[in-house]
């Protein structure tokens, strides 16, 4: 069985994530699966990116994924989430994350998928170490606070825009 939520060094396989989101769903009840694949880009803030190394606090990251799945189930009843995140060294063009959401109607599946990636960026304890032409830098985004309701509302606003 493919775990719906996972983090590790194995290469991302989108079809496995899509299969995981289908497991256990009531046959015939869902009309939509939306998938998202995040890739390592060769440029960032004017820098030429050579590769990325992802660091993570894996046990807490898995719990954060579970929290996001619960938030989605609460906000979009009937919607389901599967999500695999990679860690370690990733070359330009490789996938760092795959998300699949599934629901009876496409609107909820699209919104839940966008919500998931926005929440990952807010609360998952994962970090990009960017190696670019001329140096390296740790990318630092949001201060992770899963109880910050403003951040959660912002993710929901983006998801439903």
């Amino acid at each position: 069985m493919i775990p719906p939520l996972a983090i590790g060094p194995e290469p991302i396989q989108l079809e496995r994530v899509a299969a995981a989101v289908a497991a256990g769903a009531a046959a015939g009840a869902d009309g939509a699966v939306v998938t998202f694949l995040g890739l390592v880009r060769n440029h960032n803030l004017g820098r030429s990116v050579r590769y990325l190394e992802y660091d993570a606090y894996q046990p807490l990251a898995l719990k954060a994924f579970g929290r996001i799945a619960a938030e989605i189930a609460e906000r979009w009843p009937g919607a389901r989430l599967a999500l695999h995140h990679r860690v370690g060294r990733l070359e330009v063009g490789e996938a760092s994350i795959a998300i699949a959401t599934r629901s009876p109607h496409r609107g909820d599946a699209y919104a839940a998928c966008r919500y998931a990636i926005e929440r990952i960026k807010q609360i998952a304890p994962i970090w990009k170490h960017e190696f670019f032409d001329g140096g390296e830098v740790w990318i630092e985004g949001a201060t992770a606070n899963p109880d910050d309701l403003h951040a959660r509302a912002e993710a929901e606003r983006i998801a439903c825009a």
Partner: protein, 81 residues
């Protein structure tokens, strides 16, 4: 009492270790662990307002009490995805 401290991303680079063991007085909080480390590694002070913390792989606030054998983690602002 003794706790394990786990550090990630740039915090790990500043301290030069992924994991440390530290002794704390009974009644200490996560914040006490942070202040002890910031005393040892002044570069950490810049993260005072932006870090998150966790205890035994659950997010917890700085005023959370710690116990013997706990795993404390300090997390700089995140950048997954």
């Amino acid at each position: 009492m003794r706790v394990t401290v786990r550090l990630f991303a740039r915090l790990r680079d500043i301290v030069g270790a992924t994991e440390l063991a530290r002794d704390l007085a009974p009644g200490a909080t996560i914040g006490d662990v942070w202040r002890q480390l910031a005393g040892e590694f002044p570069e950490l002070a810049g993260y005072e307002r932006s870090i998150s913390s966790a205890i035994n792989a659950d997010y917890a606030r700085m005023d959370h009490a710690i116990g013997d054998g706990d795993e404390i983690a300090f997390l700089p602002p995140v950048s997954g995805g």
